[in-house]
Symmetry: C2
Subunit: 219 residues, 2 copies
DNA sequence: CATGCTTGGATAGTGCCACTCTCCAAAGAA
DNA sequence: TTCTTTGGAGAGTGGCACTATCCAAGCATG
């Protein structure tokens, strides 16, 4: 299959595919001649994954490249490739945790939370992880606005996250090969995020309607 | 307090405050003279909220303006202002639900899910909501990539979302005034999202470490 | 009162990012 | 042979969140 067909099958314009090739998000096709290249089903699949990461997951192109590079880095063993690939998936710039008192207090709250949850693996490594820093920044921000955000409020969220992680990892371990597992980890980490957030918003609407309209449907 | 002090107290540059004023994210201060304006504590608070929405919540400036306008629209009653404000908080463009078979199947799955959860309020109104459409797009994308994403997989997420909604609404109802409740709804909806996602990622790391390293800490 | 600094407001510019357009020479198709 | 298509490369585009510059009108200080 050549560029035009790859474009048709994936729903991505040829210009964008060329851009992704240049950016290293997609492996070059097998060169047929000086001006032609051959692409396969794996390119279609990869392209769909990249598109999902970028469009739905809002992952920056540069980040997507790192993630893919980590997933393909054969110098690491399976476990580390998995960690490296998901590590790169930071949400975005974490607003440079300024060292005001609110941020410190937030960090203490988060540490207490992790201890409560018995997430011992994250006590050392985790403090550097993007997820940890994002969490601290968010808690600090909520605090600054005067909203309650202590261990008591966070704990239910943490327990739910732990439950989700178990079923997510179960799904990942169903994949047959290590490569497929890593791809699944990336895809499920990123693509279930909009699912989770959307469901939360729908649940808010539902619960709000229940409370404020006494069970009646709004007009 | 004048612009410079407002900037200092909120940690936002004067240039950015002027930009927000121009964009209508912040009410103009009380004019003291032709070249001076007076700001109050509510401006500091509003500014912090706006910053949190934009930086942490990644809400586009234009969207933040709509949300604030809806929250202040006194022509609507409390319940509707709340709905309008959170309605505007779409995550971003929902990738224009193309009408391929995957999208249709995804919509059927989502409808079945909502029925299972007994979220009857969303059956009509909800199909137009940004959250519903984001959810369908995400499910369709997961399906296209071949990952299991049926009612069975989504149901636990939905139940957890319902639980979270209950505690979130409890928090909101603790606020004393309608205006404070609406602000709380916006702030908690947006700012708990990074909390939830970060916790999920940390939980993934923790669960993954437990499974792959047999309980040992990685180096 | 003179002088210099600060203030709020308006306009134009910057940097980043995800594409997208234009051009080109070599290949294949008719 | 002629016409279209292909892959590749570089420059250009549009959107967005600021940010830098300028300006005239205060205000503060000697």
């Amino acid at each position: 299959m050549r560029l035009a067909e790859l474009s048709e099958r994936s729903g991505v314009s040829t210009a964008t595919i060329k851009y992704y090739l240049r950016e290293g998000l997609l492996q070059p096709g097998r060169r047929i001649s000086a001006t032609q290249a051959e692409y396969g089903d794996e390119h279609v699949r990869r392209l769909r994954l990249v598109r999902a990461l970028i469009q739905l997951g809002k992952v920056p192109v540069a980040t997507a490249r790192e993630v893919i590079a980590a997933a393909e880095d054969t110098s690491l063993d399976h476990h580390w490739r998995l960690g490296a690939a998901t590590w790169a998936l930071a949400h975005g710039r974490e607003a440079a945790t300024d060292d005001d008192p609110a941020a410190e207090a937030a960090a203490r709250t988060v540490n207490a939370l992790l201890e409560h949850l018995d997430w011992r693996h994250d006590q050392e490594l985790g403090e550097l992880s993007p997820a940890y820093r994002t969490l601290v920044a968010a808690v600090a921000s909520l605090r600054r606005l005067g909203y309650p955000c202590g261990v008591a409020q966070l704990l239910p969220y943490g327990r739910l996250a732990a439950q989700l992680a178990v079923s997510d990892l179960d799904l990942i371990e169903e994949e047959p090969t290590p490569a497929a597992q890593i791809e699944a980890a990336v895809a499920l980490t990123v693509l279930y995020e909009p699912v989770l957030l959307s469901l939360r918003r729908l649940a808010h609407a539902e619960e709000s309607a229940r409370r404020f309209t006494g069970g009646e449907k709004p007009a």
